[in-house]
């Protein structure tokens, strides 16, 4: 009895195995050997941070030139330089590291609440009531959905209701950025210290009414930047991380204190 079971099941398995082996010869699809080579040293986390369904799909996209060599966030520089080796391009352009930053400083002390929220403790839930309870339509809600989603413990919630990012722990995996319903988290160049910590595209008047520290789009920083690294678009200033030299002139001149010079959460207004 027992022997029959083993033998017959084994025979069936062997038969189908042979058929499949034969079929794989007939239906063999040529694949770029570079794809295999790159797949080898990808982290195989299949986290999806690169925007592709998995590490395999990413490897394919890189070889086709659709994805950047440094797009694998968990892999970091190591993987980027290895991919660069395989593809024969310079690794230098891929050594930029990006970390997450909350582009909002409108904590409880600066930004009013338009109503008292008693719902689920989750920013996405809060968004469903009139875009959240903050007086500023673009500001961080501070219920900590990003804190929850970070796998690396890089985010903690500050006392004022604005998350604090730890740039050393952040791997730039984009998870917090993708989940934030206010789109207030940005990926920033780790080397550049100067950032505009505001997300409000509203007109200056509106910003002034809602928040004591938001960017009003006056453009003073842009005028005073010796490197012309700052542009003001839709009432919000942006600093180009590639041209900025971290000289610090914009911070001195900004009338609203919304530019910081550290990746940590400190400004002269706060200290």
């Amino acid at each position: 009895m027992f022997v029959y079971a083993i033998v017959s099941l084994g025979a069936i398995g062997l038969f189908f195995g042979l058929v499949l082996a034969f079929a794989s010869q007939v239906f063999y699809v040529e694949k770029d050997p570079k794809i295999e080579a790159i797949s080898e040293f990808l982290p195989a986390a299949n986290c999806g941070a690169c925007g592709y369904p998995g590490c395999g799909a990413f490897a394919e996209a890189v070889v086709k030139g659709e994805a950047g060599i440094s797009d694998c966030a968990p892999g970091g520089n190591d993987v980027a330089s290895k991919i660069a080796d395989v593809l024969g391009v310079s690794a230098a352009e891929s050594t930029e590291e990006y970390v997450a930053e909350v582009a909002c400083m409108g904590g409880r002390e600066y930004c009013d609440e338009q109503f008292v929220y008693h719902g689920i403790n989750d920013c996405r839930a809060a968004m469903m009531y009139a875009n959240g309870f903050k007086a500023c339509d673009h500001g961080c809600l501070g219920l900590g959905t990003c804190v929850e989603v970070c796998n690396f413990g890089a985010i903690t919630m500050g006392d004022n209701g604005i998350p604090i990012m730890d740039p050393d722990k952040c791997t730039g995996c984009n998870r917090c950025k993708n989940i934030c319903p206010k789109n207030v988290i940005r990926m920033i160049n780790k080397k550049t210290k100067h950032h505009v910590r505001c997300n409000s595209k509203d007109k200056g008047k509106v910003v002034k009414r809602a928040c004591k520290i938001g960017c009003i789009g006056c453009g003073v920083c842009a005028k005073n930047c010796p490197e012309e690294a700052i542009t003001v678009e839709e009432n919000l200033a942006y600093i180009d991380s590639h041209t900025c030299t971290n000289c610090g002139k914009c911070i001195e001149k900004c009338p609203r204190d919304c530019i910081t010079d550290t990746l940590d959460f400190k400004t002269k207004a706060l200290s």
């Binding site: 009895m1 029959y4 079971a5 017959s8 099941l9 069936i12 398995g13 189908f16 195995g17 058929v19 499949l20 079929a23 794989s24 239906f27 063999y28 699809v29 369904p53």
Partner: protein
């Protein structure tokens, strides 16, 4: 011949695997966004289901029953279906890479498609002959494809319709599936 037609049309309309017996719902919901891909999925399922019906019948009646080891039914059927799906996957990747892309994860998932396993087991419980099993398999696959095409056609139109965000997308697809299913109840007793 007398028995074959009722089996064939019965499994397409009266006992439709997806709409009446609720087997294989995941590809039904997953690959029914576009008519094109659902045709591809339908063809892949047709191939696997027909062959699976025949081969599982042979294995059951020619190997398992003579040796008295029917308890190996599930394991050996899984073996058959998994191999067939592997085979289809290779073939589709070779023949139509674009279809392979759009079917995505649902192609290997045919392995765990309960419609196929369910059909193979139904063949055994209903004590069908080899020919009847084959007809049952083809019919089941056609019924599956029809269900897929029906909902894909409707969902393509629904994409364009204005509706509340709450029901848009997969929610309305489920509602539509329910309505089609109720409509198919009307075939009851025909065969």
């Amino acid at each position: 011949m007398g028995d074959l037609l009722p089996i064939f049309f019965g499994v397409i309309f009266v006992n439709n695997l997806v709409l009446i017996q609720f087997l294989g719902i995941c590809p039904f919901m997953g690959v029914s966004k576009k008519v094109d891909t659902s045709i591809g999925m339908g063809m892949a399922v047709t191939f696997v289901m027909t062959l699976a019906a025949v081969i599982t019948w042979m294995i059951h009646n020619w190997i398992l029953v003579p040796f008295g080891i029917e308890y190996l039914q599930t394991v050996s059927f899984i073996l058959v279906i998994a191999s067939l799906v592997q085979f289809v996957e290779m073939a589709v990747e070779k023949i139509s890479p674009s279809l392979y892309q759009s079917l995505g994860v649902f192609l290997p998932l045919i392995t765990t498609n309960c419609a196929i396993m369910g059909l193979a087991l139904l063949n055994i419980t209903n004590e069908y002959s080899l020919l009847e099993s084959a007809v049952h398999g083809v019919g089941g696959a056609i019924g599956f494809t029809i269900a897929l095409l029906l909902i894909a056609g409707i969902r393509e139109q629904l994409e364009l319709a204005k509706m509340n965000d709450l029901v848009k997308g997969i929610s309305v697809a489920f509602i539509v599936a329910g309505v089609i299913s109720v409509a198919f109840l009307g075939f009851e007793g025909v065969v």
